[in-house]
Each structure stands twice: as structure tokens, then as C-alpha cells.
């Protein structure tokens, strides 16, 4: 975390707080034994909350360095409970609960801001039901659902089914516990619960606190079993989500939120639809768009191939509302522009192609380094010096300057490096010259 920036082009001082990871980077071999044994399960941000991780974790498998860290907000040891499992299991002796934040002072000649972007919060468009309807997800959540290394191993499951599946698991667990309690009563009174219940309801057994409890417990178990069966029956009906709707321009090209076009979402949705189709040939994908902006190299060809070879449906029209049916399947309400009729389409999963927004906290970064933001909250640049911020020596690249796709981000990163290198080169020369002048006055 950057805490303070002072100085100017060619000579900045940056104070950085390196947060404690509670794992010694030099000793950790990245083997993962700790995470396997860690008793605390935490919703995984990387999986957009669709999967779980442990309190000791790596953000994702390919991260560099391949070293684990402890999340003190969840770790039992940091929460004052008894644990220390990871420390016991780690043969490399890398766990260090006492590790502290380090404050680093960096002397740099130039600064590159590559703070990326955040997704538009789709709950702001209430008519699309995101957050309210289980099977309306955003594009990044869909990315995890369709990823071979994601929480569903690439099988596109409806979140409602994932939820039901988890529910079944917890209910089964608690039912098992309740059944054990019943068994205790049975053992104690040497009578089967069914017999007892018959006798009790017939009034043959006089009341008593414990019998009341037994009855209550039995009735609860009966109800819970019924509900569980219901849930299981419902869960059985659904498998893979094969009817998919992709809704474009969610929070982009929208006067209420962001007027700009987020550039990459058209291609992203086409790609996601292609991947889903590739994974399961039954997939029918509908992409609701205003314009399909396939402006990069090979993009238009890709889009045409999606329609011609894989049968993707590109539907022109802005979606008005999303509702759901009794099976929690989203219903897409839209006006088909060609017939000007209001139509609806029921799908298994609706995917919102949410806008690329300047990241939360960008104002703080801007204030810290003293650069200006533009009216869309991205770092302000000039068209002919597209990576220069308003402060000399500070550059920007990637989505921090506005929405761009991967190749452009990569190209911009090189470009920003070039601008930074120019500054450093020049200040080195200037330093050299002044040094030389100092040594050789005249």
C-alpha cells in the first residue's frame, strides 16, 4: 500500500507499507499443506464468492511469488481462538504469526499507475435483478463458472443450484445430528421413536419435559426430512445451464451511470458464449446488444464465426427488465427492434456484461500522487500524450486511463515503461552532468 509520495520527476520518494503475510517468503515452498489442513473456510474473492478458500491461502494458483499468506480477519489464531494448525503442519517452518508490516522507502525516478478497474455494481440497475435473482450473474462471475479451474470445473452451473447443493449438504449434516439425538432418547427409554410418538399422541404417555422435547425433536426431524427431500427432488431437475442470455452495456452507454463504452465487453460476451458452447454443445446463447463492437484484430471474424459455426444468437435490443419463473430461471424482457414487439425469453442463466469503471479508491491514489482525474474518474491524460498524467514523471497504463482490452493493456504497459525509461535516462544524464559540473567547475 502506497502511503506517501513526495518529490518530482526524476526524484520521487515513495513510502510503501508492505503488509505482513504471516508467512516467511524465504522459507515457504508453496506446497500447500497448510491450506489443506486449515480448519477455516472463507468465501473466495478470486472465485467471486462462488467457491471457498482457507484462511491461509494464495489468491490464485499462478500468482507470483508462489507463497501463502494468512488472512487475519478469518484465521482462528488471529481471532483469539485455539488453532496453530498451519504452524504445526509446515515442515519448512515458514509460519510466523508475529510478522509485522514493513514500511519501505523507495527512491524512484518515475511512477507508473496501473491500478486497473472495478466492475460496475449491477445492483444499481434494479430492473435487472442482480443480487436479488439468484441466476443473474455478472460477466466475471460467469468467467469463474465457465473456467476449467473454477469452482464448478467449467460446468456452467446455476448459482441457485450451487446454493441448493450447499443447502442440502448443511441440512443433511444437521439432520444427522438431530437423528443422533433421537437415538439417545430411544436408547434411554428403550423404545423406538415411532412407537413413542404413536403412544404419546394417543395420550398413553404422560407429559414430562423430556418427552415434550422428544416429540418436538421428532417433529422437527420429520419436517426437515420432508424439506430435504423436496430440495433434493428440485435439485435433481437441473444440471448444466445451457440457455444463456448475455446482456450488453450494463452500466455503460447509459446516461444514468457511465456514458462511455467499455470497449471490451462485446468481445468478452462473445468469447464466454463460445466457451460455453464449446464445453457443452447443447448451449444456446443469446447476446442482447445495441451494437456489437468488434473492432480489434480478428474480432469481426470471430463474431461471424460465432454465429455461423456455433449458432450464437445476436439480438439487437436493449433489455428492459429481468424477472424469474418458479424455477428461478431468469426471464429476459426486451423490445425486438426489428418487429418493435416486446418479447420475453426464458433462460437458465443471465450474464450481465457490466461496465469497466475506475477503481474504488482511485481518488485516494490521485490525491496521494497529486494527479488529476477526468470526468469519468479515470486518470486524466492528453490525446497526444496518452500515457502522461497531469504530473511530469507519472504515467498511467491499462484500464486506469479508460477501458481497454488485454492486447492494448499489454501494449500500453510497454509504452508506459518507455516513457518512464525516457525520464530516468534524462535525469541520469542531468545528474551525471551536474555531478560532473560540481567536480569540474568551469
Amino acid at each position: 500500500m502506497v502511503e506517501k509520495v513526495t518529490g518530482s520527476k526524476g526524484d520521487f520518494t515513495v513510502i510503501v507499507r508492505k503488509k505482513a503475510r504471516y508467512v516467511n517468503e524465504d522459507l515457504c515452498t508453496g506446497c500447500g499443506a497448510c491450506a489443506e489442513k486449515c480448519p477455516t473456510t472463507v468465501p473466495d474473492d478470486y472465485e467471486m464468492g462462488l467457491g471457498n478458500r482457507k484462511a491461509i491461502y494464495r489468491h490464485y494458483a499462478q500468482g507470483i511469488p508462489s507463497v501463502f499468506c494468512i488472512d487475519p480477519d478469518y484465521c482462528r489464531t488471529f481471532q483469539g481462538k485455539k488453532c496453530g494448525v498451519c504452524q504445526k503442519i509446515c515442515q519448512a517452518k515458514a509460519i510466523d504469526y508475529k510478522q509485522e508490516d514493513k514500511v519501505l522507502e523507495l527512491k524512484v525516478g518515475a511512477i507508473i499507475l496501473a491500478t486497473g478497474y472495478d466492475l460496475f455494481d449491477a445492483t444499481r440497475i434494479s430492473e435487472y435483478g442482480y443480487g436479488r435473482l439468484a441466476n443473474v450473474v455478472n460477466s466475471m462471475e460467469f468467467e469463474r463458472l465457465s473456467s476449467a479451474s473454477g469452482p464448478t470445473e467449467g460446468h456452467v452451473k446455476r448459482p441457485s443450484d450451487l446454493r441448493d447443493h450447499n443447502l442440502i449438504k448443511t441440512k443433511e449434516k444437521s439432520l444427522k445430528k438431530s437423528t443422533r439425538t433421537l437415538a439417545k432418547y430411544e436408547k434411554k427409554h428403550k423404545m423406538s421413536t415411532a412407537d413413542f410418538y404413536k403412544q404419546f399422541t394417543a395420550g398413553n404417555i404422560s407429559d414430562g419435559d423430556e418427552f415434550e422435547k422428544w416429540v418436538k425433536q421428532y417433529e422437527n426431524v420429520r419436517e426437515a426430512t420432508r424439506k430435504l427431500e423436496e430440495l433434493k427432488a428440485r435439485a435433481e431437475k437441473f444440471d448444466i445451464a445451457t440457455r444463456l442470455a448475455f446482456i450488453q452495456c450494463v452500466g455503460s452507454r447509459d446516461f444514468r451511470f457511465n456514458k462511455y463504452c467499455s470497449s471490451y465487453c462485446c468481445m468478452h460476451s462473445i468469447k464466454e458464449a463460445m466457451m460455453a458452447k464449446d464445453h457443452d454443445a447443447r448451449t444456446e446463447a443469446y447476446i442482447f446488444n445495441m451494437d456489437l463492437r468488434t473492432v480489434g484484430k480478428g474480432f469481426e471474424e470471430y463474431k461471424v464465426r460465432g454465429a455461423e459455426k456455433l449458432g450464437l444468437h445476436y439480438v439487437r435490443g436493449r433489455v428492459a427488465e429481468i424477472t424469474q419463473d418458479e424455477n428461478e430461471n431468469p426471464i429476459i424482457w426486451y423490445e425486438e427492434t426489428t418487429s418493435q414487439e416486446v418479447k420475453s425469453l426464458t433462460v437458465d442463466l443471465a450474464v450481465l456484461a457490466v461496465a469497466c469503471e475506475a477503481p474504488r479508491g482511485i481518488e485516494k491514489v490521485a490525491e496521494l500522487v497529486g494527479v488529476a482525474l477526468d470526468h469519468n474518474r479515470f486518470f486524466k491524460t492528453a490525446p497526444l500524450n496518452p500515457l502522461d498524467t497531469t504530473v511530469p514523471g507519472i504515467f498511467v497504463c491499462g484500464c486506469a486511463q479508460g477501458p481497454v482490452d488485454i492486447p492494448e493493456s499489454v501494449a500500453q504497459a510497454s509504452s508506459a515503461a518507455s516513457r518512464a525509461a525516457e525520464v530516468i535516462w534524462q535525469s541520469t544524464i542531468e545528474y551525471g552532468e551536474s555531478h560532473w559540473k560540481k567536480k569540474n567547475p568551469e
Binding site: 479451474s149 470445473e153 467449467g154
Partner: protein, 234 residues
Amino acid sequence: MQYTTDIRVIRIMCTGRMDPVVMADAFVHGLDGLLVLGCLFGECHYVSGNFNARHKINMTQEMLAYAGMNPNRLSFRNLSSAESGVFVKHITDFSTEIRELGPLGGAADRVPLPKLKENLEIARTALAGPKLRWVVGKKPVFMDSGNKYQEIFTEHEINRTLSGIIIDEMATHSILAALQKKRRAVKDLAKELEIPGPDTLKYVLALKRRGFVELDGVDGTSPVYKYKTEEGMC
């Protein structure tokens, strides 16, 4: 992630490295299955290595099948390095397929051991030879920019040519191998190698012309040939 203990991984830089001789040699030594795993087409880490690999593996498969081995023992499959699930699926599938085929030279192969081994050795020699290597090597060039007369060939046309060469090469090297063991008349060679008589004569005369075999007297009315040298063959 868990998977079958059936596989042993050998690291290569790129599937383009897979030499037909190495693949054939593995089966000569009794391997039951060889799976080549590489990048997805269009995503080759080495630009076009996997396309080259595909040409070579297809040819090797055809050659080994012609030698009597079940071609499914050699397979080329593709995945990206981030797809651990796909990796597991590929090797699980392949292991199941090979277990169904059983050991090399069993019921699943057209020719049983030990004859199969002999055939595979001949196939290996043919795959090391210049003809097949030259054509399969030129395949991408012929398909892309054409031969020196700017004639561009379809994959189908080249494959047809390759199939013809496979048959010729297998026959030629079988004859050489047989003659190397002992001198023979053409009609005996034809009978033993199950190659039609006229074809056998054609191959023998071609070998004679190239100096690999020579006339070694006449038995009754049949001229008898013997092995001379294989120098310059490859």
C-alpha cells in the same frame, strides 16, 4: 487433482520435437501406448510446432497401423497449460483406451508378437529413411506456398501421396530385411512377405538399380537375389 498411476511423463520443449523414429522405437521396445500432449492449435507456444507434430504423428500412426499395430496406441491430444482438468481427462481416457487394447501384440493388434516387433523394426527403419521424412517435412510448405512450380497441394493430396510411400517403403524395407537374413528368389519373397509377385519384382529391381541388392545366381528358372549394402539408404 488425482489421476491414474499408469502414465510416465517425458518432457519435451514442444510437440514439434517428436521424431517419428522415436515414436516407432518406443513401440519396438514394447510400449503399450504413447500419448503426445501439446498446446491447442493456434496457441502453440512455438508458433507452429504442434501443426508440424500433427503431420508427423498422423503419418507415424498410419505407418505403424500398416505394420500391424493398432493405431490408437499412438495419440496426439491438445490442451492449454492452465487446464489441469483437461489434462486429467486426456490421460484418464488414454489409459482406459490402452487398458482396453491390452498389451502390445495382443488381440487388439492386427499382427501378433513376435512378428509385430519385426514389422515395427522395419517401420522404424522406413521412418528414419529420407522419403517419408522429406514429404512429411515438406507438407506444410506444399500446403502453404506450394512446390517450386508454385503448385499448392491440398492436405488430402499430400496424404494420399504419403499413404503410397508408406506402402512402398514398408515393402522395400521388408524385402531388404528378408534378404539380409538369407538370399531369396522373387517368388519366395512374394509368398513370405505377402506382397503380390509383380510388385515384389518391381521393388527388387528398384533395389538392384540403387545397388542395395544384387543377383546371386539362378535357382532353376528363378533368379535369386542377395543383400548387398544399405549404405546411402538414409
